[in-house]
């Protein structure tokens, strides 16, 4: 359903949409096997970003940091802006 955010897809014909869906499905399964903890929506956003040519390492860093970020919040909230 979030595929709708990728506006070009809307103009595509049914085949392309199908392929895209399947690709996403496969990627999601791989993601599960690898135990990444990403849900389908997040994954689709990440794939879109990758397709736009962003560095996957950077994206991974974002995922990692934002997940973790919340953890140290209770002990040291003030330290975060420094990062």
């Amino acid at each position: 359903m979030y595929l709708a955010t990728r506006s070009p897809l809307l103009n595509m014909d049914a085949d392309a949409a199908k392929i895209a869906r399947e690709s996403l499905e496969l990627a999601f399964q791989m993601s599960n096997i690898l135990d990444t903890g990403l849900d389908r929506h997040t994954l689709s956003i990440l794939i879109a970003l990758c397709d736009l040519g962003l560095n996957p390492e950077a994206l991974a860093a974002v995922v990692k940091e934002l997940r973790r970020e919340v953890v140290p919040v209770p002990p040291s909230d003030a330290a975060r802006p420094v990062l």
Binding site: T5, L9, M12, D13, D15, A16, A17, K18, I19, A20, E22, S23, L26, A27, Q29, M30, S31, I33, L34, D35, T36, G37, L38, D39, H41, T42, I45, L46, I47, A48, L49, C50, D51, L52, G53, L54, N55, P56, E57, A58, L59, A60, A61, V62, V63, K64, E65, L66, R67, R68, E69, V70, V71, P72, V73, P74, P75, R80, P81, L83
Partner: protein, 855 residues
């Protein structure tokens, strides 16, 4: 387009941040609101992160990334998941065309990183709870972590398993497996320090913890279970070559030392082992130092840098370079010497000493000095004391028990196999001869004077007679010692032989008596033993002949000779067959006692005997011819007494006599010339050469050679050699013919005498010839055959007798001339130069050479 993309990226990131924040369990309490300050800061943080890493650190290769991910899964034990992943990836990769993902590698890579991060994050989660300050550090350095750091992580992993997920059966298994892998890894991953220690052990032939002797590969090697880089493995192998070589050398030493008394290792082998042992103890010292050093860190100027231990494998390889060369050499020597002993071993080692490298050269020199010292000691005691103390048969001189007379020739030999190559053949010969001379003096001559000579020689050579005075490499000293000793001992030996044992006198005596050089003695002996020897051989008593010999000696000038020499002269009867006459078996013998029987050995005496037989026969023939001459001198026979004979008979008588005289003359010419040749061209010339050589002879070998040459030249020149066998045979046929002629001539003279007696009887009864008278008396007792028949019958008989004799003489003469012809024609075919003189002599007037073309 650019801006559109930028906008899209910004939107997507915002969305992402919202999603992530909403997922976060901790922030579940307050729903995501885009306007909170936290959200803003998170967004800013995300943007900064993305813009900070613009380029990926890996190559965009989707397949490779997928492969590594798969392998990682597999190593974690999730092989089924790995397979599923691989399957999914192939499907994912096959999606092409519109609507598919373009940056497939990026997606896969992204998933991989997130998964890894999550895993690290989990552990970190725990550590951050327990040790909040260390958690970040660990995670940061985790990627480059090596052995020690890795270990720390794993411990935490273990704790994780217990604390967090012990209830989850799948996780439990995973963690247990991980722990097992860690244990194996821990066990198998070896630090260099440990390896260095192991290598040091291996180099002493001891199995280390990891480096063990592998008998199938025949060498020390790291066991395969241990994970070390290939380079390290190879280096360890290389270093451990030293251990392998050491094992070999050590094995040889202990083997030969253990088996020492029973198996014959020999003194040289023992010396070799001892020298090797010394080298090994040096090597032990080095290893001990290295081992002590290996624990110390390298002192560095700056304290901050963590220095490794003093010894690394690489340093060790530098340290081992020199011992390795030595050890290799030793191993090669050990291999080479395993089957060798004594001198041969020293020679083999010497061959390896010819090396340009000064290190090797010096090393081998040291080794050889040790190895050769027993050998040189043997040489010394052999040359100076004549002692062969060689229990293990290692010396290149070999002695064997023989009788005293063959001690010199056969008692001691050079053993070529045991002669080390640094002792030349000629030097070895001199060494052999010197010791032999001493032994000869001691055993055969019972002389003690050699000790003085030997001491003098040792003093002159600079080394006293103390033991271990010589060493390898001092070949000059050895040579001068041997030379000095040889010169003095040989001189002493010759002095003893010449003066004490009167070698020259004995040679002269042999020449006089055996080679018939003493004319009056021979003549007299021939006269008195002649009748005896005409008897059949089996009736002759050698005692009687010995008595006759004594008589002959006393009657001739030989009586003034030394009694000792005359005592040695004996009659020898050779073994005889039936029909042999005394002449065939009679010979003289000279008894050369110890030590001279070294020169006059049995074979030499046999040669002398052959020469004697030849000369004796020649003498006998000469003697026979002289006997004929005595009875048939022309003036004896052509007396007036035959005047009364009828003219025809008288003529016949004269012609027969004449024929006889001519034949005699021819024979006499031949025999006297042959005799002359033998005496002056052969015996005296050879003797004179022999005397010259005796003067210059420096040792017994020279003397033996000179004597051998003397004897050989006599044999060759007197036609006794093998090459002149046919000539010798025809010569003997001639001799036999001459002896036959003698018997004919005797008969003729007897007949003539009788005839004479008869005629005298009839005319002059009182003739003062006792012999004739007696004979006439004999004849007169039986009433006369000739007289009674009267004059006519006498004349008739005489005529018949003379005719017969004439015919016999004719055949003899023919036979003789054909034999002589044969002999003379064969003579030039001999190779020997001196025989030309004989031919020249016999055919001086070219009578025979002129005769030959006509026949």
């Amino acid at each position: 387009m650019e801006e559109e993309d930028q906008q899209k990226v910004a939107d997507l990131i915002k969305e992402l941040v919202i999603r992530l924040r909403s997922q976060n369990p901790n922030s579940e309490s307050h729903p995501p609101t885009p306007n909170t300050p936290e959200f803003q800061s998170s967004l800013r943080y995300a943007f900064r992160l993305i813009s900070s890493r613009l380029n990926p650190s890996v190559a965009p290769d989707a397949a490779a990334i997928a492969e590594s991910t798969k392998r990682r899964l597999a190593t974690q034990g999730k092989s089924s998941q790995a397979l599923t992943f691989a399957d999914l990836y192939t499907k994912f990769a096959s999606k092409t065309g519109p609507g598919s993902v373009n940056n497939k590698w990026a997606v896969v890579y992204l998933l991989k990183i997130i998964s890894e991060d999550r895993k690290n994050g989990k552990t970190q989660l725990d550590s951050s709870v327990l040790l909040p300050n260390l958690g970040f550090n660990d995670a940061e350095s985790g990627k480059e972590s090596r052995v020690l750091v890795g270990r720390g992580n794993k411990e935490k992993g273990w704790n994780n398993g217990v604390l967090l997920v012990s209830k989850d059966p799948e996780n439990l298994r995973e963690i247990a497996f991980r722990e097992y892998v860690n244990l194996i890894k821990e066990e198998n991953e070896v630090s260099e320090e440990v390896l260095v220690r192991d290598v040091l052990y291996a180099c002493q032939g001891i199995d280390g913890k990891y480096v063990k002797f592998d008998s199938s590969a025949d060498g020390y090697a790291l066991s395969d279970l241990i994970k070390v880089p290939r380079a390290t493995r190879i280096m360890v192998r290389k270093l451990c070559e030293l251990g392998w070589l050491f094992r070999k050398v050590k094995g040889y030493i202990s083997e030969s030392m253990d088996g020492f008394p029973s198996e014959d290792v020999g003194t040289v082998g023992q010396a070799f082992c001892a020298a090797l042992q010394d080298e090994l103890s040096d090597y032990y010292k080095l290893l001990a130092v290295l081992e002590a050093q290996s624990m110390n860190p390298i002192p560095l100027v700056s304290e901050t840098a963590s220095s490794g231990n003093y010894l690394s494998l690489r340093r060790l390889s530098v340290w081992f370079a020199e011992p390795m060369v030595k050890m290799r050499l030793m191993a090669v020597l050990v291999d080479k010497c395993r089957v060798l002993r004594g001198g041969a071993m020293a020679g083999a080692i010497h061959l390896h000493a010819q090396h340009g490298d000064p290190l090797v050269h010096e090393f081998m020199g040291r080794l050889l000095r040790r190895v050769c010292s027993p050998l040189f000691e043997m040489v010394r005691s052999w040359v100076l004391e004549g002692e062969l103390d060689d229990v293990f048969a290692e010396f290149f001189v070999v002695g064997q028990p023989v009788k005293a007379e063959s001690l010199w020739r056969e008692g001691y030999m050079l053993h070529a196999g045991m002669l080390p190559s640094f002792i030349s053949q000629s030097l070895a010969q001199r060494i052999l001869r010197t010791g032999k001379s001493i032994n000869f003096l001691r055993v055969c001559c019972e002389d003690r004077g050699w000790a003085d000579a030997a001491t003098e020689a040792a003093a002159a050579a600079g080394t006293t007679t103390r033991r271990w005075g010589l060493g390898y490499g001092e070949s000059d000293a050895l040579e001068s010692l041997v030379d000095g000793a040889a010169k003095r001992v040989d001189k002493h030996l010759l002095d003893v032989i010449y003066n004490q044992y009167k070698f020259k006198e004995h040679c002269l005596a042999i020449k006089r008596y055996l080679l018939l050089g003493q004319g009056d003695f021979v003549q007299y002996l021939m006269d008195i033993v002649g009748p005896e020897l005409s008897e059949p051989a089996n009736t002759i008593s050698s005692f009687q002949l010995a008595g006759l010999l004594e008589t002959a000696i006393r009657a001739s000038n030989a009586q003034y000779d030394d009694r000792d020499i005359l005592d040695r002269l004996k009659v020898k009867m050779m073994p005889h067959g039936t029909g042999d006459r005394g002449w065939d078996v009679f010979s003289l013998e000279y008894d050369a006692r110890v030590p001279l029987d070294t020169v006059f050995t049995e074979s030499v005496m046999t040669k002398y005997l052959r020469i004697f037989n030849f000369l004796w026969k020649l003498r006998r023939v000469e003697h026979a011819l002289i006997g004929i001459w005595k009875t048939m001198k022309p003036n004896c026979i052509t007396s007036r007494s035959f005047m009364k004979l009828p003219h025809a008979v008288k003529l016949q008588l004269l012609s027969t006599l004449r024929r006889c005289q001519v034949l005699w003359d021819e024979m006499n010419h031949f025999v006297s010339n042959l005799q002359y040749y033998i005496m002056f061209e052969v015996l005296e010339v050879s003797w004179s050469h022999f005397l010259d050589e005796m003067e210059v002879a420096k040792d017994l070998d020279d003397l033996l050679a000179a004597h051998e040459k003397y004897l050989h030249s006599i044999v060759e020149k007197s036609l006794l050699g093998e090459r002149s066998q046919t000539l010798y045979n025809s010569l003997f046929a001639l001799f036999d013919l001459i002896l036959k002629f003698r018997s004919h001539a005797d008969r003729l003279s007897e007949g003539i005498n009788e005839l004479q007696a008869r005629t005298m009887e009839s005319s002059l009864p009182s003739r003062d010839k006792s012999k004739t008278k007696k004979r006439s008396n004999d004849r007169s007792s039986e009433p006369g055959s000739w007289i009674s028949e009267g004059r006519k019958a006498l004349t008739q008989r005489a005529g018949e007798f003379l005719r017969n004799m004439g015919q016999d003489l004719d055949t003899l003469s023919k036979e003789y001339s054909s034999l002589l012809e044969d002999f003379i024609s064969k003579l030039p075919m001999q190779q020997h130069v001196d025989l030309k003189f004989l031919l020249f002599r016999l055919d001086f007037t070219e009578f025979y050479s002129q005769l030959r073309p006509s026949t």
